[in-house]
Amino acid sequence: MRTICLYFQVHQPFRFRRYRFFDIGNDHYYYDDYANESILNKVAQKCYLPANELMLELIKKHKGRFKVAYSLSGIAMDQFRLYAPEVLDSFKQLAQTGSVEFLSETYAHSLSSLKGREEFERQVRAHDLLIKEHFGQEPTVFRNTELIYSDEIGAMVADMGFKAMLTEGAKHVLGWKSPNYLYCNAIKPKLKLLLKNFKLSDDIAFRFSNKGWPEYPLTAAKYVNWLNQTPQKEEVINLFMDYETFGEHQWKETGIFEFLRALPASVFKRSPFTFSTPSEVSSELQVVSAVNVPHPISWADEERDLTAWLGNEMQHEAFNKLYSLGEKVHACGDEEIRQDYDYMQVSDHFYYMSTKFFSDGEVHSYFNPYDTPYEAFINYMNVLSDFEIRVNAAVDSKTDDDIARLSKIIKEKDEQLEKLEKLFATKQKTAPGRTAAPKTPSKTKSTSTVKKVPAATKKSAETKTTAAARKRPTGKKS
């Protein structure tokens, strides 16, 4: 069997507004609604809607033989719901064809896989719930943010019950091996790995409209010819790319939609290849070997590593500071805070702080709302400073609530105790032979709780004012 696995990534970050230091503690709204809405609508018009329409057309035309897979970040789905519900509807239509697979990823398109299991699992679960809600699918294949992968991350994903995962066919990992086979995780071999064929993927995603490229212009016939030139034994060509390739990175005028329209027919006519979804690939093909990836890889830049997000001091400071708040965020139980925490984790924020490409920052600057990485950093840290204040205040007020609740319990117990004592006293009078044993544990328990109270109530008195000062501005989306 020779097959093509098409997978597209759909993601848009919630961009921050220009948040100055004097906003810290005063204004808790962080988002640039105008930019977010207008960019999303622009991309929806240029890419998501026409591309989805074309996919639907191709799926219908080829009667189930043409298949694709998507992963939509939770953040992107949130934005569709807010700004362009018709995009979500068109994805639902695609889901109904049965030829489209939706993959799992982190809800916030985050780098949480690098920060331990708890937050990562929480986000993956949250994302999968959304996928189930919108598309009625329960993802079995996982795709991490920016195709970030390592043996450990793979093992974690395997533990969570996924059967396969997508990542980059990075040269420094594969060496002489070809990405065009099914591989597996080095620690947990039951997790299959689909590796991106970056040459053939990037021919479409990056080089398609480059007039300086010797292969320009790229036609479907020529592309199928390349597919046919791959060694006969190789089983799967994994073409993974940003969905925005169609109409946004490569404009409509470049002929990218015509290329896509012609591709399936050309594949069926001129080659033995079929189309498969990632879960089909992982269940139908045999694993040829494990891949060792001790250090995390990604699909970004020439290096295929993490340096675009975690390459300099600023990125590390912001990243570590953010995740240091995680415990408190979940302890405080405030829904708005948890949402902001998710939106702050979006990998794009860290990407904006990259200083890697001072010389040739073309790709980076294209996606970047900031003029310099320093502005991105300061803006982020200002937001984070305010967020930290809110989190601390919320944790304190939660403590206040807890204390109030506990005090109430103590009061009730004390009253109960008093009653029982009275009862006991009267009963003792009537039946002097009985011991007081059953009552003792409840008494010691209540006194030990009482002891804790003074210290805690003192703290609550101090922090009540900050908690009261925390007020969220209205006008925010629901």
């Binding site: 100055r20 230091f21 004097f22 810290i24 300099n312 001091e313 600023m314 590390h316 400071e317 912001a318 200083t355 001072f358 003029d371 310099t372 320093y374 502005e375 950093f377 300061i378 803006n379 840290m381 200002n382 400073s385």
Partner: protein, 428 residues
């Protein structure tokens, strides 16, 4: 190849950025084999007898030709001083000092520091142009006597000299624009100066500007064809560790420094506004405005009315080593210039490990990556940058780590080579 170069000042009498730049450039060019420079400067320091210039006629030029011995130079540099009574100055203090001397001796004063405002007193105004013309006459004489292949003039005061030399010899003329009157005057150009600048640019065969910012000014404001204007960035000499003077910090507060002339061009008011904003949010920070200038008093009054004088300090004019001492206790350096053709001071700050915030309206912003850039008028952005550098440590760490290396990459040898390649367009 032999170059006849007209400057305004040269070691040991350096008074401003122009002299430093000329010195650095000629030194950078001295490593190029078979390239000789004949440097001509007016001399009007100390007690030169100013009667000599009055008697100077076209055939009676008083010239001192001497050889510069400098260990930096591979070849000896031929160096000519022309007697003149135009005195360059850079600081208002120096100006005051020189005015007193000059009034006794009848000398004229003119500021030639890059970006310095041409500020000669009214009663000498007419004579300044005479001086420039005299210098040009001398230049013509030299051009007839000396053998050379190309002429290179630095800034407007020497443009007429360059033109005269070109007329006399027929050799190509390159003019070097370190600043225009638009930078110095904040838009209100002196028509006489503008005329000299424009004429120089028009008659030159090639124009070198110190930044693309200045290049655009030359093209747009003076109507020069873009093909004729080339940017050659300035550089800076590396400082050794011994030269980095350390001053013991007497305070635990962070220090944010503005260092430069307190004039409209340097944007001191934006610094005060930003300081005011930052001080509303932080109390462990102090702001220092080092330098003097026509807006100093206004700034003092303003900080007083804002009620921030307990956190905002004025040092007056800082000279020589004091500059590096100031840097050694600074956490952030700010250059909010409204118009800065190049701007060497952030490079000096960075060499001293001080993270810098510079305006987009400075030439040096075009070549620095490890500095924070803001628009001079965007006080919120400036305040935010200061706050960020003081509160989020990794930013300073990055700037310190990479800044020195970045600045040290800017070598005068490279600038020299670029100038040489421009010469070669005209001389085989």
């Amino acid at each position: 190849m032999r170059v006849l170069m007209f400057g305004w000042e040269f070691p040991p009498h350096i008074s401003g950025g122009l002299g430093t730049a000329c010195f650095g450039l000629t030194r950078g060019m001295s490593v190029i084999p078979n390239l000789d420079i004949l440097f001509v400067v007016p001399r009007a320091y100390g007690d030169e007898d100013q009667t000599r210039i009055r008697v100077m006629g076209a055939a009676d030029v008083s010239l001192d030709l001497r050889k510069m011995k400098d260990h930096h130079f591979l070849n000896d540099l031929s160096y000519i001083e022309v007697n003149s009574n135009i005195v360059p100055y850079t600081s208002p203090e120096e100006y005051e000092e020189l005015v007193n001397k000059a009034e006794a001796s009848g000398k004229r004063l003119v500021e030639t520091s890059m970006g310095g405002k041409i500020n000669f007193t009214g009663k000498y105004g007419r004579n300044l142009y005479e001086e420039i013309t005299n210098y040009a006459l001398v230049a013509g004489e030299i051009a007839l006597k000396e053998h050379f292949d190309i002429i290179h003039s630095h800034d407007w005061l020497t443009f007429p000299a360059g033109i005269a030399a070109k007329r006399a010899s027929g050799k190509p003329l390159v003019i070097h624009v370190h600043a225009t009157d638009f930078d110095r005057s904040g838009g209100k150009v002196n028509p006489g100066v503008f005329e000299i600048e424009k004429r120089g640019m028009e008659l030159a065969d090639k124009i070198i500007t110190v930044s693309n910012l200045t290049r655009n000014t030359v093209i747009e404001k003076y109507g020069i064809h873009p093909d004729k204007v080339v940017t050659v960035y300035n550089a800076v000499d590396p400082i050794s560790d011994q030269e980095k003077l350390q001053l013991k910090r007497g305070i635990t507060d962070k220090v944010v420094t503005f260092l430069g002339r307190i004039t409209l061009q340097k944007g001191p008011e934006y610094f005060v506004q930003a300081a005011h904003k930052v001080l509303q949010k932080m109390d462990n920070v102090r702001f220092v405005m080092a330098g003097s200038g026509e807006m100093l008093e206004k700034m003092i009054h303003w900080t007083a009315s804002l009620g921030i004088t307990d956190r905002f300090h004025f040092t007056g004019f800082l000279k020589g080593d004091d500059v590096f001492r100031m840097f050694s206790i600074s956490d952030v350096y700010v250059m909010p210039s409204v118009s800065e053709p190049f701007g060497i001071s952030p490079l000096e700050a960075m060499q001293s490990n001080v993270p810098s915030i510079i305006s987009h309206q400075s030439g040096v912003a075009e070549i620095l990556n490890y500095a924070f850039k803001v628009d001079f008028w965007d006080v919120d952005a400036l305040a935010d940058a200061i706050y960020g550098l003081l509160n989020y440590p990794s930013l300073s760490v990055m700037f310190k780590k990479h800044g020195v290396a970045e600045v040290n990459e800017m070598k005068w040898e490279n600038s020299g080579k670029k100038v040489h390649s421009i010469y070669k367009e005209f001389v085989q």
